[in-house]
Protein backbone atom coordinates (compact mmCIF):
# COMPACT_ATOMS: atom_id res chain seq x y z
CA UNK A 1 0.00 0.00 0.00
CA UNK A 2 1.38 3.42 -0.90
CA UNK A 3 0.09 4.96 2.33
CA UNK A 4 2.05 2.69 4.61
CA UNK A 5 5.21 3.19 2.55
CA UNK A 6 4.79 6.90 2.98
CA UNK A 7 4.36 6.56 6.74
CA UNK A 8 7.26 4.17 7.16
CA UNK A 9 9.57 6.42 5.10
CA UNK A 10 8.41 9.36 7.17
CA UNK A 11 9.13 7.38 10.33
CA UNK A 12 12.61 6.45 9.14
CA UNK A 13 13.28 10.08 8.28
CA UNK A 14 12.10 11.08 11.75
CA UNK A 15 14.35 8.43 13.25
CA UNK A 16 17.45 9.51 11.39
CA UNK A 17 16.79 13.15 12.28
CA UNK A 18 15.91 12.33 15.87
CA UNK A 19 18.88 14.29 17.18
CA UNK A 20 18.05 17.44 15.18
CA UNK A 21 14.41 17.34 16.18
CA UNK A 22 15.23 16.63 19.81
CA UNK A 23 17.55 19.62 19.85
CA UNK A 24 15.21 21.92 18.04
CA UNK A 25 11.96 21.10 19.78
CA UNK A 26 12.33 22.36 23.41
CA UNK A 27 12.67 26.12 22.80
CA UNK A 28 10.29 25.93 19.87
CA UNK A 29 7.65 24.19 21.95
CA UNK A 30 8.05 26.64 24.82
CA UNK A 31 7.66 29.74 22.68
CA UNK A 32 5.02 28.41 20.33
CA UNK A 33 2.79 26.99 23.07
CA UNK A 34 2.84 30.37 24.83
CA UNK A 35 1.95 32.01 21.51
CA UNK A 36 -1.04 29.71 21.09
CA UNK A 37 -2.14 30.10 24.72
CA UNK A 38 -1.98 33.91 24.54
CA UNK A 39 -3.83 34.04 21.23
CA UNK A 40 -6.58 31.63 22.29
CA UNK A 41 -7.04 33.33 25.65
CA UNK A 42 -7.29 36.80 24.13
CA UNK A 43 -9.75 35.64 21.46
CA UNK A 44 -11.85 33.62 23.90
CA UNK A 45 -12.22 36.41 26.43
CA UNK A 46 -12.66 39.13 23.84
CA UNK A 47 -15.76 37.52 22.44
CA UNK A 48 -17.28 36.01 25.56
CA UNK A 49 -17.12 38.80 28.15
CA UNK A 50 -20.07 41.06 28.96
CA UNK A 51 -18.60 43.72 26.62
CA UNK A 52 -17.21 41.86 23.61
CA UNK A 53 -14.52 43.30 21.40
CA UNK A 54 -16.96 44.63 18.80
CA UNK A 55 -18.73 46.82 21.36
CA UNK A 56 -15.57 48.21 22.89
CA UNK A 57 -16.01 51.52 21.09
CA UNK A 58 -19.14 52.21 23.11
CA UNK A 59 -17.09 52.22 26.34
CA UNK A 60 -16.11 55.81 27.21
CA UNK A 61 -13.00 54.75 29.13
CA UNK A 62 -11.75 52.89 26.08
CA UNK A 63 -12.45 55.75 23.70
CA UNK A 64 -10.59 58.23 25.93
CA UNK A 65 -7.62 55.86 26.29
CA UNK A 66 -7.58 55.18 22.55
CA UNK A 67 -7.50 58.89 21.80
CA UNK A 68 -4.67 59.51 24.29
CA UNK A 69 -2.66 56.57 22.95
CA UNK A 70 -3.16 57.88 19.44
CA UNK A 71 -1.69 61.26 20.39
CA UNK A 72 1.08 59.62 22.38
CA UNK A 73 2.01 57.64 19.26
CA UNK A 74 1.46 60.53 16.84
CA UNK A 75 3.71 62.93 18.75
CA UNK A 76 6.22 60.46 20.16
CA UNK A 77 7.11 58.74 16.87
CA UNK A 78 8.29 61.81 14.86
CA UNK A 79 9.95 63.26 17.98
CA UNK A 80 11.96 60.07 18.50
CA UNK A 81 12.91 60.07 14.83
CA UNK A 82 14.24 63.65 14.96
CA UNK A 83 16.12 63.11 18.23
CA UNK A 84 17.60 59.83 16.94
CA UNK A 85 18.70 61.52 13.73
CA UNK A 86 20.33 64.39 15.62
CA UNK A 87 22.25 61.98 17.83
CA UNK A 88 23.30 59.82 14.88
CA UNK A 89 24.56 62.87 12.94
CA UNK A 90 26.58 63.98 15.98
CA UNK A 91 28.55 60.73 16.20
CA UNK A 92 28.63 59.84 12.52
CA UNK A 93 32.00 61.33 11.60
CA UNK A 94 35.06 60.39 13.58
CA UNK A 95 36.73 62.97 15.76
CA UNK A 96 38.77 62.78 18.92
CA UNK A 97 36.66 61.30 21.69
CA UNK A 98 33.82 60.07 19.45
CA UNK A 99 33.96 56.64 21.08
CA UNK A 100 33.44 58.18 24.50
CA UNK A 101 30.56 60.36 23.24
CA UNK A 102 28.95 57.30 21.65
CA UNK A 103 29.23 55.34 24.90
CA UNK A 104 27.69 58.23 26.83
CA UNK A 105 24.86 58.48 24.28
CA UNK A 106 24.13 54.80 24.98
CA UNK A 107 23.56 55.32 28.72
CA UNK A 108 19.76 55.91 28.66
CA UNK A 109 19.05 52.42 27.34
CA UNK A 110 20.86 50.96 30.35
CA UNK A 111 18.54 52.70 32.82
CA UNK A 112 15.40 50.69 33.59
CA UNK A 113 12.29 52.44 32.21
CA UNK A 114 10.69 52.43 35.66
CA UNK A 115 13.69 54.19 37.21
CA UNK A 116 13.71 56.79 34.41
CA UNK A 117 10.01 57.48 34.95
CA UNK A 118 10.51 57.85 38.70
CA UNK A 119 13.45 60.26 38.30
CA UNK A 120 11.35 62.40 35.95
CA UNK A 121 8.56 62.31 38.50
CA UNK A 122 11.02 63.59 41.14
CA UNK A 123 12.38 66.33 38.86
CA UNK A 124 8.89 67.63 38.05
CA UNK A 125 7.49 67.28 41.55
CA UNK A 126 4.92 69.80 42.80
CA UNK A 127 5.00 72.34 44.39
CA UNK A 128 8.71 72.23 45.29
CA UNK A 129 10.86 70.45 42.74
CA UNK A 130 13.98 71.25 40.74
CA UNK A 131 12.13 72.14 37.53
CA UNK A 132 9.51 74.27 39.29
CA UNK A 133 12.31 76.01 41.22
CA UNK A 134 14.08 76.70 37.94
CA UNK A 135 11.03 78.02 36.08
CA UNK A 136 10.01 80.19 39.04
CA UNK A 137 13.38 81.91 38.76
CA UNK A 138 14.47 80.86 42.22
CA UNK A 139 17.99 80.13 41.03
CA UNK A 140 19.83 83.32 40.17
CA UNK A 141 21.14 82.13 36.80
CA UNK A 142 17.78 81.31 35.17
CA UNK A 143 15.10 83.88 34.25
CA UNK A 144 11.66 83.63 35.83
CA UNK A 145 9.16 82.12 33.40
CA UNK A 146 6.14 81.29 35.58
CA UNK A 147 4.72 82.94 38.71
CA UNK A 148 3.01 79.91 40.28
CA UNK A 149 4.42 76.36 40.49
CA UNK A 150 3.04 74.01 37.83
CA UNK A 151 1.23 70.87 38.94
CA UNK A 152 2.57 68.63 36.18
CA UNK A 153 0.83 65.42 37.16
CA UNK A 154 -2.50 67.21 37.66
CA UNK A 155 -2.84 68.22 34.02
CA UNK A 156 -3.72 65.72 31.31
CA UNK A 157 -1.68 67.53 28.68
CA UNK A 158 1.43 68.13 30.81
CA UNK A 159 1.55 64.67 32.37
CA UNK A 160 1.29 63.02 28.96
CA UNK A 161 3.98 65.37 27.61
CA UNK A 162 6.24 64.19 30.45
CA UNK A 163 5.47 60.57 29.53
CA UNK A 164 6.39 61.22 25.87
CA UNK A 165 9.61 62.97 26.91
CA UNK A 166 10.52 60.14 29.27
CA UNK A 167 9.94 57.53 26.56
CA UNK A 168 11.99 59.58 24.09
CA UNK A 169 14.85 60.01 26.57
CA UNK A 170 14.98 56.32 27.44
CA UNK A 171 14.78 54.99 23.86
CA UNK A 172 16.90 57.49 21.94
CA UNK A 173 19.92 55.15 21.63
CA UNK A 174 17.79 52.62 19.71
CA UNK A 175 16.73 55.09 17.00
CA UNK A 176 20.27 56.49 17.01
CA UNK A 177 21.88 53.11 16.30
CA UNK A 178 19.52 52.26 13.42
CA UNK A 179 19.96 55.68 11.81
CA UNK A 180 23.73 55.54 12.38
CA UNK A 181 23.88 52.24 10.50
CA UNK A 182 21.90 53.90 7.70
CA UNK A 183 24.21 56.93 7.62
CA UNK A 184 27.34 54.80 7.54
CA UNK A 185 26.05 52.79 4.61
CA UNK A 186 26.09 55.94 2.44
CA UNK A 187 29.34 55.95 0.51
CA UNK A 188 31.77 58.78 0.99
CA UNK A 189 32.33 59.11 -2.78
CA UNK A 190 28.81 60.41 -3.16
CA UNK A 191 29.56 63.25 -0.77
CA UNK A 192 32.85 63.93 -2.61
CA UNK A 193 30.95 64.16 -5.88
CA UNK A 194 28.37 66.50 -4.36
CA UNK A 195 31.13 68.70 -2.93
CA UNK A 196 32.90 68.85 -6.28
CA UNK A 197 29.67 70.06 -7.85
CA UNK A 198 29.49 72.78 -5.23
CA UNK A 199 26.79 71.50 -2.90
CA UNK A 200 26.73 73.16 0.50
CA UNK A 201 26.39 71.05 3.62
CA UNK A 202 22.64 71.79 3.93
CA UNK A 203 22.14 70.82 0.27
CA UNK A 204 24.17 67.68 0.83
CA UNK A 205 21.93 66.79 3.73
CA UNK A 206 18.70 67.56 1.86
CA UNK A 207 19.47 66.00 -1.52
CA UNK A 208 21.85 63.22 -0.54
CA UNK A 209 21.63 62.14 3.09
CA UNK A 210 17.86 62.30 3.54
CA UNK A 211 16.83 60.36 0.39
CA UNK A 212 19.49 57.70 0.96
CA UNK A 213 18.47 57.45 4.59
CA UNK A 214 14.81 56.84 3.69
CA UNK A 215 14.89 53.06 4.36
CA UNK A 216 16.33 53.59 7.85
CA UNK A 217 13.81 56.37 8.54
CA UNK A 218 10.90 54.16 7.49
CA UNK A 219 12.20 51.35 9.71
CA UNK A 220 12.30 53.77 12.64
CA UNK A 221 8.76 54.98 11.95
CA UNK A 222 7.40 51.43 11.96
CA UNK A 223 9.33 50.25 15.02
CA UNK A 224 8.71 53.41 17.04
CA UNK A 225 4.99 53.58 16.30
CA UNK A 226 4.60 49.98 17.52
CA UNK A 227 6.66 50.78 20.60
CA UNK A 228 4.61 53.91 21.36
CA UNK A 229 1.24 52.20 20.94
CA UNK A 230 2.15 49.57 23.49
CA UNK A 231 3.87 51.87 25.99
CA UNK A 232 3.02 51.11 29.58
CA UNK A 233 5.63 52.11 32.16
CA UNK A 234 5.99 55.86 31.49
CA UNK A 235 2.29 56.79 31.41
CA UNK A 236 1.67 54.37 34.29
CA UNK A 237 4.05 56.29 36.55
CA UNK A 238 3.77 59.81 35.15
CA UNK A 239 0.11 60.06 34.09
CA UNK A 240 -1.81 57.48 36.16
CA UNK A 241 -4.92 59.69 36.19
CA UNK A 242 -5.10 59.75 32.37
CA UNK A 243 -4.74 56.13 31.23
CA UNK A 244 -3.42 55.16 27.83
CA UNK A 245 -4.49 51.78 26.42
CA UNK A 246 -1.68 49.96 28.25
CA UNK A 247 -2.53 51.58 31.58
CA UNK A 248 -6.23 50.89 30.99
CA UNK A 249 -5.47 47.17 30.57
CA UNK A 250 -3.65 47.14 33.92
CA UNK A 251 -6.46 49.05 35.62
CA UNK A 252 -9.21 46.78 34.25
CA UNK A 253 -7.28 43.71 35.34
CA UNK A 254 -6.12 44.76 38.81
CA UNK A 255 -8.50 47.45 40.02
CA UNK A 256 -11.76 46.48 38.34
CA UNK A 257 -10.95 42.74 38.41
CA UNK A 258 -12.36 42.31 34.93
CA UNK A 259 -9.94 40.05 33.03
CA UNK A 260 -12.39 39.64 30.12
CA UNK A 261 -12.59 43.36 29.41
CA UNK A 262 -8.83 43.70 29.97
CA UNK A 263 -8.29 40.96 27.38
CA UNK A 264 -10.61 42.75 24.92
CA UNK A 265 -8.57 45.94 25.22
CA UNK A 266 -5.37 43.88 24.95
CA UNK A 267 -6.60 42.32 21.70
CA UNK A 268 -7.72 45.72 20.40
CA UNK A 269 -4.16 46.95 21.03
CA UNK A 270 -2.76 44.02 19.03
CA UNK A 271 -5.13 44.84 16.15
CA UNK A 272 -4.23 48.54 16.25
CA UNK A 273 -0.53 47.71 16.08
CA UNK A 274 -1.11 45.36 13.16
CA UNK A 275 -3.10 48.04 11.28
CA UNK A 276 -0.48 50.74 11.93
CA UNK A 277 2.27 48.44 10.72
CA UNK A 278 0.26 47.68 7.60
CA UNK A 279 -0.30 51.37 6.86
CA UNK A 280 3.36 52.30 7.43
CA UNK A 281 4.61 49.35 5.37
CA UNK A 282 2.43 50.31 2.41
CA UNK A 283 3.56 53.95 2.73
CA UNK A 284 7.14 52.70 2.83
CA UNK A 285 6.54 50.71 -0.35
CA UNK A 286 5.05 53.74 -2.12
CA UNK A 287 7.92 55.98 -1.06
CA UNK A 288 10.46 53.44 -2.25
CA UNK A 289 8.79 53.16 -5.65
CA UNK A 290 8.65 56.95 -5.91
CA UNK A 291 12.35 57.25 -5.07
CA UNK A 292 13.30 54.63 -7.64
CA UNK A 293 11.41 56.54 -10.35
CA UNK A 294 13.12 59.83 -9.46
Amino acid sequence: MPGSIKISSLLSRLKSNFFTIGFFIPAFLYLFSFFVIILIFLLKFSFSGDIPLVHLLSVDEFKAALWRSFWFMGIGTPLQLVVGLLLALLIQQSYKGVGMVRSLFMIPIAIPALVTAIIIDLLFSYPFGPINDLLLGRHGFFPQIITLPVNWSGSEFLSLVLAVLGKTWRDMPISMLILLAGLQSIELEQYEAAKTMGARSWQQFKYLTLPLLTPAILTILILRSIENWKEFVFPFVLAPAYPLLGVLIERLYHVEQNPALAASVALALVILIALTTLVFTSIAKMVREYLVKV
Partner: protein
Amino acid sequence: MKVLKFVLIGVVLFFIIFPLFMMTKYSISDRESIVTGGEYPEPFLPFKPTLEMFGALWSRSDFLKAGLTSLWVGLFAVAFSLLLGAPTAYALARFKIPGVAILLFLLLSVRLFPDISAVIPVAELLLSRPFSLLPPVVLVGLAHTLLALPYTVYIAKGVFESIPKDLEEQAFVLGAAKSRTFFKILTPLALPGLGAAAIYTFFLSWNEFIFAYFLTFQGTETTLPVYLLRILSWSPQKNFISAISLLICIPVIIFTFLVQRYMREGLTAGAVK
Protein backbone atom coordinates in the same frame (compact mmCIF):
# COMPACT_ATOMS: atom_id res chain seq x y z
CA MET B 1 29.67 74.39 11.70
CA LYS B 2 32.14 72.55 13.92
CA VAL B 3 31.39 74.84 16.84
CA LEU B 4 27.66 74.22 16.43
CA LYS B 5 28.30 70.49 16.46
CA PHE B 6 30.24 70.56 19.71
CA VAL B 7 27.65 72.83 21.30
CA LEU B 8 24.95 70.35 20.29
CA ILE B 9 26.97 67.43 21.68
CA GLY B 10 27.26 69.38 24.92
CA VAL B 11 23.52 70.04 25.04
CA VAL B 12 22.64 66.38 24.38
CA LEU B 13 25.14 65.19 26.98
CA PHE B 14 23.63 67.63 29.46
CA PHE B 15 20.15 66.19 28.90
CA ILE B 16 21.47 62.64 29.28
CA ILE B 17 23.55 63.31 32.38
CA PHE B 18 21.24 65.74 34.20
CA PRO B 19 18.56 63.24 35.38
CA LEU B 20 21.26 60.77 36.44
CA PHE B 21 23.16 63.52 38.23
CA MET B 22 20.01 64.52 40.08
CA MET B 23 19.32 60.92 41.07
CA THR B 24 22.85 60.59 42.45
CA LYS B 25 22.56 63.94 44.18
CA TYR B 26 19.29 63.03 45.87
CA SER B 27 20.65 59.68 47.01
CA ILE B 28 23.43 61.39 49.01
CA SER B 29 21.33 64.36 50.16
CA ASP B 30 20.79 65.29 53.79
CA ARG B 31 17.34 66.23 55.05
CA GLU B 32 17.73 70.01 54.67
CA SER B 33 18.62 69.64 50.99
CA ILE B 34 15.37 67.90 50.05
CA VAL B 35 12.79 69.13 52.56
CA THR B 36 12.95 72.84 51.82
CA GLY B 37 9.39 73.79 52.70
CA GLY B 38 9.60 76.24 49.82
CA GLU B 39 11.76 78.65 51.79
CA TYR B 40 14.78 78.25 49.52
CA PRO B 41 15.31 76.42 46.22
CA GLU B 42 16.68 72.89 46.32
CA PRO B 43 20.46 73.14 46.06
CA PHE B 44 22.18 71.45 43.08
CA LEU B 45 24.71 69.98 45.49
CA PRO B 46 23.60 68.70 48.90
CA PHE B 47 24.49 70.89 51.87
CA LYS B 48 25.94 67.96 53.81
CA PRO B 49 26.47 64.90 51.59
CA THR B 50 25.74 61.69 53.44
CA LEU B 51 25.68 57.98 52.71
CA GLU B 52 23.14 57.27 55.43
CA MET B 53 20.44 56.17 52.94
CA PHE B 54 22.66 53.36 51.65
CA GLY B 55 23.36 52.35 55.24
CA ALA B 56 19.63 52.36 55.96
CA LEU B 57 18.96 50.23 52.87
CA TRP B 58 21.68 47.75 53.81
CA SER B 59 19.88 47.04 57.07
CA ARG B 60 16.39 46.78 55.53
CA SER B 61 15.43 43.14 55.17
CA ASP B 62 12.67 43.80 52.60
CA PHE B 63 15.13 45.61 50.29
CA LEU B 64 17.73 42.86 50.58
CA LYS B 65 15.04 40.26 49.95
CA ALA B 66 13.93 42.05 46.79
CA GLY B 67 17.57 42.26 45.65
CA LEU B 68 18.03 38.53 46.20
CA THR B 69 14.75 37.79 44.40
CA SER B 70 15.90 39.85 41.40
CA LEU B 71 19.20 37.96 41.40
CA TRP B 72 17.56 34.53 41.53
CA VAL B 73 14.94 35.40 38.90
CA GLY B 74 17.75 36.61 36.61
CA LEU B 75 19.86 33.49 37.16
CA PHE B 76 16.86 31.25 36.62
CA ALA B 77 15.97 33.03 33.38
CA VAL B 78 19.59 32.73 32.18
CA ALA B 79 19.79 29.02 33.00
CA PHE B 80 16.44 28.20 31.47
CA SER B 81 16.89 30.19 28.26
CA LEU B 82 20.40 28.80 27.66
CA LEU B 83 19.26 25.26 28.35
CA LEU B 84 16.36 25.60 25.91
CA GLY B 85 17.95 28.03 23.48
CA ALA B 86 21.48 26.70 22.89
CA PRO B 87 20.44 23.30 21.46
CA THR B 88 17.84 24.97 19.22
CA ALA B 89 20.42 27.46 18.01
CA TYR B 90 22.84 24.60 17.30
CA ALA B 91 20.21 22.72 15.31
CA LEU B 92 19.44 25.86 13.32
CA ALA B 93 23.12 26.59 12.67
CA ARG B 94 24.19 23.09 11.64
CA PHE B 95 21.37 21.01 10.24
CA LYS B 96 19.28 21.53 7.17
CA ILE B 97 15.75 21.90 8.45
CA PRO B 98 12.93 22.06 5.90
CA GLY B 99 10.82 25.22 6.15
CA VAL B 100 13.37 26.89 8.40
CA ALA B 101 12.07 30.39 7.62
CA ILE B 102 8.61 29.50 8.89
CA LEU B 103 10.06 27.90 12.00
CA LEU B 104 12.14 31.00 12.73
CA PHE B 105 9.07 33.15 12.32
CA LEU B 106 7.14 30.92 14.72
CA LEU B 107 9.98 31.18 17.23
CA LEU B 108 9.64 34.96 17.17
CA SER B 109 5.85 34.95 16.94
CA VAL B 110 5.26 35.26 20.66
CA ARG B 111 7.09 38.59 20.66
CA LEU B 112 4.53 40.00 18.23
CA PHE B 113 2.21 40.57 21.18
CA PRO B 114 2.84 43.74 23.15
CA ASP B 115 4.03 42.87 26.67
CA ILE B 116 1.04 44.55 28.24
CA SER B 117 -1.32 42.42 26.09
CA ALA B 118 0.58 39.16 26.56
CA VAL B 119 0.85 39.57 30.30
CA ILE B 120 -2.90 39.08 30.92
CA PRO B 121 -3.05 35.50 29.52
CA VAL B 122 0.36 34.64 30.99
CA ALA B 123 -0.71 35.87 34.43
CA GLU B 124 -4.04 34.03 34.17
CA LEU B 125 -2.19 30.83 33.25
CA LEU B 126 0.74 31.00 35.67
CA LEU B 127 -1.30 32.25 38.63
CA SER B 128 -3.76 29.34 38.41
CA ARG B 129 -3.09 25.76 39.40
CA PRO B 130 -0.87 23.82 38.91
CA PHE B 131 1.60 26.59 38.07
CA SER B 132 0.68 28.74 41.05
CA LEU B 133 2.16 26.07 43.33
CA LEU B 134 5.63 27.01 42.03
CA PRO B 135 7.54 29.71 43.93
CA PRO B 136 7.13 33.26 42.50
CA VAL B 137 10.84 33.37 41.63
CA VAL B 138 10.33 30.48 39.20
CA LEU B 139 7.12 31.97 37.73
CA VAL B 140 8.77 35.33 36.98
CA GLY B 141 11.84 33.47 35.70
CA LEU B 142 9.63 31.49 33.30
CA ALA B 143 8.04 34.72 32.02
CA HIS B 144 11.44 36.35 31.54
CA THR B 145 12.61 33.24 29.68
CA LEU B 146 9.70 33.80 27.32
CA LEU B 147 10.98 37.34 26.63
CA ALA B 148 14.67 36.46 26.32
CA LEU B 149 14.58 33.09 24.56
CA PRO B 150 14.13 34.36 20.97
CA TYR B 151 17.18 36.63 21.39
CA THR B 152 19.18 33.87 23.05
CA VAL B 153 18.48 31.57 20.09
CA TYR B 154 19.45 34.34 17.67
CA ILE B 155 22.75 35.20 19.45
CA ALA B 156 23.67 31.54 20.03
CA LYS B 157 22.97 30.70 16.38
CA GLY B 158 25.60 33.26 15.38
CA VAL B 159 28.04 31.81 17.92
CA PHE B 160 27.68 28.25 16.61
CA GLU B 161 27.96 29.41 13.01
CA SER B 162 31.32 31.01 13.84
CA ILE B 163 32.80 27.70 15.08
CA PRO B 164 34.45 25.73 12.24
CA LYS B 165 32.53 22.67 11.17
CA ASP B 166 35.76 20.68 10.73
CA LEU B 167 36.06 20.23 14.49
CA GLU B 168 32.81 18.31 14.57
CA GLU B 169 33.70 16.26 11.53
CA GLN B 170 36.98 15.24 13.14
CA ALA B 171 35.16 14.30 16.32
CA PHE B 172 32.72 12.29 14.22
CA VAL B 173 35.58 10.51 12.44
CA LEU B 174 37.08 9.65 15.81
CA GLY B 175 33.77 8.07 16.71
CA ALA B 176 32.11 10.61 19.01
CA ALA B 177 28.33 10.70 19.04
CA LYS B 178 26.55 13.87 18.04
CA SER B 179 25.46 14.66 21.58
CA ARG B 180 28.97 14.02 22.93
CA THR B 181 30.41 16.36 20.30
CA PHE B 182 27.93 19.02 21.30
CA PHE B 183 28.57 18.86 25.03
CA LYS B 184 32.31 18.05 25.09
CA ILE B 185 33.66 19.99 22.11
CA LEU B 186 31.25 22.69 21.02
CA THR B 187 29.89 23.93 24.30
CA PRO B 188 33.30 24.86 25.77
CA LEU B 189 34.17 26.70 22.55
CA ALA B 190 30.85 28.49 22.48
CA LEU B 191 30.89 29.54 26.14
CA PRO B 192 32.27 33.09 25.69
CA GLY B 193 29.68 33.85 23.04
CA LEU B 194 26.93 32.25 25.07
CA GLY B 195 28.12 34.44 27.95
CA ALA B 196 27.03 37.48 25.96
CA ALA B 197 23.57 35.94 25.59
CA ALA B 198 23.54 35.19 29.31
CA ILE B 199 24.44 38.77 30.24
CA TYR B 200 21.79 40.07 27.88
CA THR B 201 19.16 37.80 29.44
CA PHE B 202 20.19 38.65 32.98
CA PHE B 203 19.86 42.39 32.50
CA LEU B 204 16.64 42.05 30.54
CA SER B 205 15.30 40.24 33.59
CA TRP B 206 16.89 42.73 36.04
CA ASN B 207 15.21 45.69 34.29
CA GLU B 208 11.90 44.01 33.47
CA PHE B 209 8.84 45.44 35.17
CA ILE B 210 5.54 44.45 33.54
CA PHE B 211 5.64 40.65 33.92
CA ALA B 212 7.24 40.80 37.36
CA TYR B 213 4.58 43.28 38.47
CA PHE B 214 1.63 41.20 37.27
CA LEU B 215 3.00 37.87 38.49
CA THR B 216 3.89 39.09 41.99
CA PHE B 217 0.99 41.51 42.38
CA GLN B 218 -0.33 39.96 45.57
CA GLY B 219 2.74 38.25 47.01
CA THR B 220 5.41 39.65 49.30
CA GLU B 221 8.26 38.19 47.27
CA THR B 222 9.09 40.50 44.37
CA THR B 223 11.88 41.92 42.21
CA LEU B 224 13.65 45.25 42.72
CA PRO B 225 11.71 47.34 40.13
CA VAL B 226 8.37 46.17 41.57
CA TYR B 227 9.69 46.81 45.10
CA LEU B 228 10.62 50.34 44.00
CA LEU B 229 7.09 50.93 42.72
CA ARG B 230 5.54 49.60 45.93
CA ILE B 231 7.75 51.92 47.98
CA LEU B 232 6.34 54.86 45.98
CA SER B 233 2.87 54.32 47.42
CA TRP B 234 4.16 55.28 50.90
CA SER B 235 5.31 58.64 49.41
CA PRO B 236 8.82 58.27 50.81
CA GLN B 237 11.57 60.90 50.80
CA LYS B 238 13.34 61.66 47.54
CA ASN B 239 16.69 60.48 48.90
CA PHE B 240 15.28 57.05 49.78
CA ILE B 241 13.73 56.46 46.32
CA SER B 242 16.87 57.76 44.60
CA ALA B 243 19.20 55.53 46.60
CA ILE B 244 17.21 52.42 45.56
CA SER B 245 17.05 53.64 41.93
CA LEU B 246 20.80 54.20 41.87
CA LEU B 247 21.52 50.75 43.28
CA ILE B 248 19.32 49.17 40.57
CA CYS B 249 21.08 51.16 37.81
CA ILE B 250 24.74 50.75 38.78
CA PRO B 251 25.24 47.11 37.71
CA VAL B 252 23.47 47.71 34.39
CA ILE B 253 25.49 50.83 33.55
CA ILE B 254 28.79 49.10 34.37
CA PHE B 255 27.92 46.08 32.24
CA THR B 256 26.67 48.21 29.34
CA PHE B 257 30.08 49.89 29.21
CA LEU B 258 31.95 46.59 29.50
CA VAL B 259 29.88 44.79 26.89
CA GLN B 260 30.13 47.76 24.52
CA ARG B 261 33.90 47.59 24.52
CA TYR B 262 33.74 43.84 24.01
CA MET B 263 31.32 44.33 21.11
CA ARG B 264 33.51 46.89 19.40
CA GLU B 265 36.58 44.65 19.74
CA GLY B 266 34.55 41.81 18.31
CA LEU B 267 33.57 43.97 15.35
CA THR B 268 37.11 45.06 14.54
CA ALA B 269 38.92 41.80 15.35
CA GLY B 270 38.00 40.04 12.13
CA ALA B 271 37.86 43.15 9.96
CA VAL B 272 41.40 43.02 8.58
CA LYS B 273 42.50 39.74 7.10
